[in-house]
Amino acid sequence: MSAYSYFPGCSLRGTGAAYEESLLALFHVLGLSLTELEDWNCCGATSYMSIDEGSAFLLSARNLALAHKAKCRDVVAPCSACYLVLRKTQDYAVRYPAIGAHVGKSLAAANLPALDGVRVRHPLEVLYNDVGADRIHQLVKRPWRGGPVACYYGCQIVRPYHEVDRDCNPTRMDELLNAAGVPTVEYALKTKCCGGSLTGTMHEIGVRLNYVLLKEAVRKRAQAIVTVCPLCQYNLDACQAEIRRGTGERYDLPILYFTQALGWVLGADPEALGFSRSISGQKSIRQWFSTATEEAKAYV
């Protein structure tokens, strides 16, 4: 059984609650163990780096040091922003001696261990590399009753580091979902930015970016969008009502986490996958993921 340390990040305790629930359920089904880092702190996201570079690196350095202390030095960060900030800190501490020295000195002063030996992982890449599409295919328990989905990778897991997937035309989420029997569509905007926190700050601009993403998905006849990031999911999910009011176009797409889609197909308890937390597309969600009809079918 493979074991990983787990860095939830602030979003998975709030707007991204369904991501955490479905991730834990999926890893449980796959027999992978996730142990939460003890007393982790915020990664700093993009905001902290905009104010203070030195302490931005220290924030994530503390988390990496906690992972070093923990039993498993592979730390899984499901949120794209957390993943990138941790990964970038690790990289810059090596690439720029001044940053490395600053981080090393400050960690030592706070009685925290150094960062070496820690690997920052994203669950998508863990499933792809450590479990594999073939294994996922063998483990399928339930048929996918929904329509084809658009896989949306967003920005920070594929850029600037290409370890989770290629930055141009990433396909690993598509491969995993296809192996699990979930049809996917060609989605050209798969790595176009959703605007991140701009929907909260520069609302109109953020909504416009998400409108473009939704429109293209619908044009490709996707019936849902599958995401890997709590911020992408929130933006696409929460903007739809406003886009409907603003444009008169009818959008009601479920925005799922890839862990929810895979969790369903691999037979995780549907109650534990957090489907009820979606704002948009509840009609499709109830149709696709209700065990009542599944049991009825088995009975007939």
Binding site: T15, N41, S50, R62, A109, G195, T201, A241, S276, R277
Partner: protein
Amino acid sequence: MLRKLKFQREADPDWARRVSQRPGCERLFSCLQCGTCSGTCPLSIYMDISPRRVTALVREGFREDVLRSQTIWLCASCYSCAVHCPRQIQITDLMYGLKREAIQEGLQPRRLPVAVLAQEFYHMVRRRGRNSEFSLVLRMALRSNPFILLGMIRTGWKLIRTGRLSLRREHIEALPEIRDLLGTEVTR
């Protein structure tokens, strides 16, 4: 924003040289002005100065023009420009550096919600070690434009109904540790 004439005497080439010493900006002076950054940027159409012009202004040393711009705050850090730049300039890092300098000098557009959010986020994490989405949004709105809260009521209600809006103020246990750690400033 209205374009105004610039005069070489307003430029500070030494500042440009200092910027080019920041991590990721080493190749600033090799910029081709090809415009790939502006073309690939999902937000450039909303910006007052395009990313290509930011690079041009920075390397000539027109410091205040860039530090006062909204562009640097619209950058959502999607790294599209950084991976596509044929000269491998980490434009995202360049933008981060400019944001930091604008805040230090107090030149950021006042009440621009992005800049306010970054500052509130910074103070919250520094004090408590974690960020709490609800109180962060509340503080951001109160310090930029409280009326944006009105537009958030519907979404907020849906988030509450689906159990996605936590009103708890999060904090870590080892607060002294993190305060010690962050108390040390970087020296370069």
